[in-house]
């Protein structure tokens, strides 16, 4: 019943807001840069418990990384789309922050002891056989067939989500391996990768940076990032 574990997680917006509020920061670009590392750490825990929702968290993480990079590299020029992405994240956080007290009010109301009970349809009346006019075996057959078709379509949806939740750990290992094999440009690492893979690779890169496993350098905005293992040749 993976749906049950799935339900233990709120969305990334809620999580991000929680991290910001924990540090008593306002919802602003600088605060987002501040909590990036915490968010990435949380990402790691989800990945272990519920990989299926990782994909949605990765999208938010990639925006955070952009913000973080911008704060670290003041010269970094962002595209219009990227700027819009950051503004959009801030806007969502503000909205969520404004709505959040309502969640608690709802919870309190739900937890109140009393509730109402109604009666089922025609309670206590005996059944009267009343078949629908145009019902026959053919119609039943085609109805059951289309239900099975719909159910088949449901399963791939689950698979796609799993596929897109690319393992962060795998990517970290990949970077280390590639570095060992001599590749030093981020551009080469990401060659021919899907968009979401590039994002995960970049997150992995930042992880390695934070844990001081690697050094990275970008000569100027949009130029390739040069990566080196710390204490190289180890």
């Amino acid at each position: 019943m993976y749906q049950l574990t799935l339900q233990q997680f709120t969305g990334p917006i809620e999580k991000l807001l929680e991290l910001i509020e924990e540090k008593k920061l306002p919802v602003a670009e600088l605060s987002l840069a501040e909590v990036t590392a915490d968010f990435l750490n949380y990402l790691k825990t989800i990945k272990e418990v519920e990989p299926r929702i990782l994909a949605d968290f990765v999208v938010v993480a990639s925006r955070l990384l952009l913000i973080k990079s911008k704060s670290l590299l003041p010269n970094l020029e962002l595209t219009e789309e990227e700027e819009r992405g950051i503004k959009d994240l801030e806007e969502r956080l503000r909205r969520y922050q404004a709505f959040k007290p309502a969640i608690n009010l709802f919870k309190k109301t739900w937890e109140q002891k009393g509730y109402s009970v109604s009666r089922p349809l025609f309670h206590g009346r005996p059944p009267v056989f009343y078949p629908p006019k145009d019902l026959d075996v053919k119609i039943l057959h085609s109805a059951v067939n289309s239900i099975f078709e719909t159910l088949k379509q449901l399963s791939p949806e689950v698979q796609t989500i799993e596929l897109s939740a690319i393992s962060l750990e795998e990517k970290i290992k990949e970077i280390i391996k590639r570095l060992e094999s001599g590749i030093q440009q981020f551009g080469k690492l990401t060659k021919e990768k899907s968009r979401s893979e590039v994002i995960v690779l970049f997150i992995a890169l930042l992880h390695l940076l934070r844990d001081q496993i690697i050094k990275a350098e970008q000569k100027q905005g949009f130029s390739d990032i040069i990566i080196e293992k710390h204490g190289s040749s180890k």
Binding site: V128, Y130, I139
Partner: protein, 184 residues
Amino acid sequence: MDHPNNQNIIGAIEAVLFVYGEPMEIKRIAKILKISESKIKEVLQQLEQEFSIENRGLKLIFSDSPAGERVQLATKPEFVSIIESIIKEESKDNLTPATLETLSLIAYLGPLSRAQIDFYRGVNSSFILRALLMRGLVERFPAPKKANIYLYQPSFDLLKYLGISKIEELPEYERYKSQIPSTK
């Protein structure tokens, strides 16, 4: 009840009889409300009087049983034709997508529990199951070894109406029956 007065005892009795639907022993009402039987009888009289006012659509029906006097909440007789017209109208409903979907699931994969039907349909099926029961299209029986769980299957009348003598005669019955998707 904590501080019973005649007023909220009346309300409580009305609520209990409303939900229960069937005739209920006065003894049992007394036990549920933790009030003496004589007090319940007194309050029931008061309630009966209130129902007699024109703007009420309900009334109390008293009956005797070996276990003692019973009381039931029911509609006043003057509304019988209105009630019959609703029942008739509700049954006239033609084959809606929900009806067809639920009925075909029960026919091909039954006996099924409500939870299983909910899973296949992706929505709650309590109302539609109740409607199918009322129209005599399906019947239910308690699931073996599981408390409060019912299993639904096609009614005998439905098979007859479809012109088949057993459910296995449905087209491709085995094919669907054998690949029941997991309810995981």
